[in-house]
């Protein structure tokens, strides 16, 4: 059930996106000095249908980012020669808006990293699960479009952001405020794998990993309300990874 092959549930997101863009594969630039880690990441992303370019140093990576204009970048924070955050700052100065996922062995989230998050980029602490990395890269590539739409729709599911109401088909769904927030976040990112860490950070604004499986309990309640008896399930649990909201199986 763990999605590892191209064309599986999470891989589809990337493919669907690239299909719209000149039939080219999504290109990801990886700047990471540890060759073994880089190899694993490259192999995993390749399995998911990404084209990966790898640089082992910050300076080389910056050159590649400038010349080949990748769709997304994965940058290790501690690099020989040039610090990862400096690479990103240099790119931003050149008005290169490529979304970046920063990898770091440092647990402490300092002000520079906070600035990153504000800019729409993401941060992942080492060690990380590969599913987590892929989910975050896809989330970066498919940032929800700023829309003036006040109603979100996924299949028969409808969320009215003004009235704060939800319904599936004709059936009204009664949601608590925190459940509404969770469903809104998931509908903005339908068909995307959302990991527990992502949900904790974005929906609950949690900065730490709680001992109890908070996300599962909340998700269980939401699923109970969204997927009524006899209806085909929309909230899917991806074992060992997270959750996906989508129509169909």
């Amino acid at each position: 059930m763990i999605p590892r092959n191209p064309g599986s549930s999470t891989g589809r997101g990337a493919n669907a996106l690239t299909a719209g863009e000149n039939e080219l594969m999504t290109r990801v630039l990886l700047i990471e000095d540890d060759s073994e880690t880089a190899e694993e990441i490259t192999a995993e992303l390749a399995d998911r249908g990404f084209e990966v370019e790898w640089s082992a140093s910050g300076i080389e990576g910056l050159d590649k980012a400038r010349s080949s204009r990748p769709d997304a970048m994965i940058v290790d924070r501690l690099l020989p020669g040039m610090d990862g955050l400096t690479v990103i700052e240099a790119l931003r100065k050149d008005q290169v808006r490529t979304p970046v996922l920063v990898l770091s062995a440092l647990g402490a989230v300092d002000d520079r990293v906070r600035g990153l998050r504000m800019g729409g980029d993401d941060y992942l602490t080492k060690p990380f699960a590969l599913v987590e990395l892929v989910a975050r890269i896809e989330a970066l590539l498919r940032r929800p479009v700023e829309s003036r739409e006040t109603t979100l729709r996924v299949g028969s599911l409808e969320l009215d952001l003004i009235e704060r109401t939800a319904k599936r088909g004709e059936r009204a769904i009664d949601l608590l405020p925190r459940e509404f927030r969770l469903l809104e976040y998931m509908m903005q990112r339908s068909d995307q794998l959302l990991t527990r860490a992502m949900l904790l950070e974005e929906v609950w604004n949690y900065k730490f990993v709680p001992a109890t499986n908070l996300v599962d309990v909340h998700m269980g309640r939401l699923r109970h309300k969204v997927d009524g008896p006899g209806e085909s399930p929309m909230i899917h649990n991806v074992r060992g990874a997270g959750f996906i909201l989508r129509t169909g199986p």
Partner: protein, 452 residues
């Protein structure tokens, strides 16, 4: 080499500077005394000759000659001068050969040089003198040589030689001695410190009597060394415990992989083994993450970024998040915050602390139980209380928790208390708050925030 050291030492330089300043001061003082004494003597002698002139001028002509001769005869020291000259400048009486040409007859005392006839010949002397026309046309001169001035300068020079030179020598000696002493002690301290650097943590700095500043300093440094020694030992203990804690899941992972490699015959079996190994490795990583987070909180200087945090909001949010979990276990989770109370702190960290307490409480309360989160006021303090109907923390456990507090990890192996409590303790300490753990029955934890 030792001598140049002493001369270059700071103490010695100070002694030299003090000696120099002292010498200048003494010389200026003596000079001033000399000048004052000189002025005084001249003024006195001027007054004397002026009154003598008045006395003689008041005498009849023939008595004047008599007086002058008598006056000069009585002068055993040879400092008195007198002369009576006729209108044509001819000498009538006295010990002056000629009328001093520089002397003006205006009744004021002046310094003039005169020639004096002595058996040995003529001598030029500078004297204080006064002159006046007598009623019969003669010119009268009265003078005095102020030779005491010379004597005084002689005395002053002698005093300087006798007093200043030994004083200066003493200064230099004292400076050399002090600097040598300081150097010796610094050298001694240096040797001990070198031994400490080399790893001898039991070494301490020497100190003699406690009232001396240097000894006070060594006592302070020794206190610091004591504290550091204890900490280093504690740290070594923590290191051992962490290693042990990490070894358990890693051993499990290793065993699973080893057995899986030999025994697994299908892909499903292999996947089960790998999942098991990943779960165990994740647990090791979780321990490391928690420890790093602990260190991060302990080392952080966040107090600069502290702001006003409304505790009732935090409590409400924590309850909101944990409610479904409590409900799943049929636990009644309630918040009671009648007052809106705020403290100075870091919002995220305080949220984490309260969430951890609630997480623990729910975890260790049996189904059908109850967890209360309360916000109340004590004596000059704000209290966040999390109480439950679970087993609580036994007395021994509580002592273990409080005694080794967050540097310890013994807590981790104590059933019922995870690393979460260490995190809470670290956060509470960072804020300058207190964590109170009440004995059972029922768990009761309090974060006590004193008013500042």
């Amino acid at each position: 080499m030792g001598q140049t050291h002493i001369i270059r030492s700071n103490t010695f330089r100070w002694a030299l500077a003090v000696a120099g300043v002292f010498a200048v001061f003494v010389i200026v003082l003596f000079g001033f005394i000399y000048w004052q004494a000189d002025q005084y003597l001249i003024a006195r002698s001027d007054k004397m000759i002026a009154s003598q002139l008045n006395a003689i001028a008041g005498l009849p002509n023939e008595r004047r000659l008599e007086w002058i001769n008598e006056h000069l005869e009585q002068d055993s020291r040879g400092v008195q001068y007198a002369g009576l000259f006729g209108a044509d400048g001819r000498k009538i009486a006295g010990n002056l050969e000629r009328f001093p040409p520089e002397l003006t007859m205006n009744d004021s005392v002046q310094s003039v040089s005169v020639e004096r006839t002595l058996p040995a010949g003529r001598e030029t002397h500078v004297i204080r003198a006064i002159a006046r026309h007598m009623p019969n046309g003669d010119a009268l001169v009265i003078g005095r040589e102020v030779d005491e001035t010379r004597e005084i300068s002689h005395v002053v020079a002698q005093a300087l030689a006798l007093g200043l030179l030994p004083a200066l020598c003493l200064c230099l000696l004292a400076g050399a001695w002090l600097s040598m002493r300081a150097q010796r002690r610094v050298e001694e301290v240096n040797q001990r410190v070198q031994r400490i650097i080399a790893g001898d943590l039991r070494e301490r700095l020497p100190h003699r009597d406690v009232d001396e500043p240097f000894s006070k300093l060594t006592v302070i440094v020794n206190g610091m060394l004591d504290e550091m020694e204890t900490m280093i030992h504690a740290l070594a203990g923590v290191g051992n415990d962490i290693a042990h804690d990490l070894r358990t899941p890693l051993t499990r992972a290793r065993l699973a992989l080893e057995r899986g490699r030999t025994n697994a015959t299908t892909l499903e079996q292999l996947e089960t083994v790998v999942d098991k190994a990943i779960a165990n490795i994740d647990q090791s990583l979780a321990i490391i993450t928690a420890l790093l987070r602990l260190a991060e909180i302990e080392n952080s200087q966040r107090s600069a970024a502290f702001g006003t945090v409304s505790l009732h909001e935090i409590l409400q949010e924590v309850c909101d998040i944990y409610e479904p979990i409590a409900e799943n276990k049929s636990i009644d989770l309630r918040v009671e915050a009648r007052q809106r109370l705020s403290v100075l702190g870091d919002r995220d960290l305080l949220f984490e602390a309260v969430a951890n307490l609630v997480d623990n409480a729910i975890k260790f309360t049996p189904e059908g139980g109850r967890v209360d989160i309360e916000l109340t006021r004590g004596d000059n303090e704000t209290i966040v209380r999390v109480s439950d109907t679970g087993g609580g923390i036994s007395k021994q456990e509580r002592e273990a928790v409080l005694r080794r507090f967050y540097r310890s990890d013994k807590i981790r192996s104590t059933p019922g208390v995870g690393l979460g409590l260490n995190l809470v303790a670290a956060i509470v300490k960072l804020h300058g708050f207190r964590l109170a753990i009440h004995p059972g029955p029922g768990g009761r934890m309090e974060i006590i925030c004193p008013d500042h």
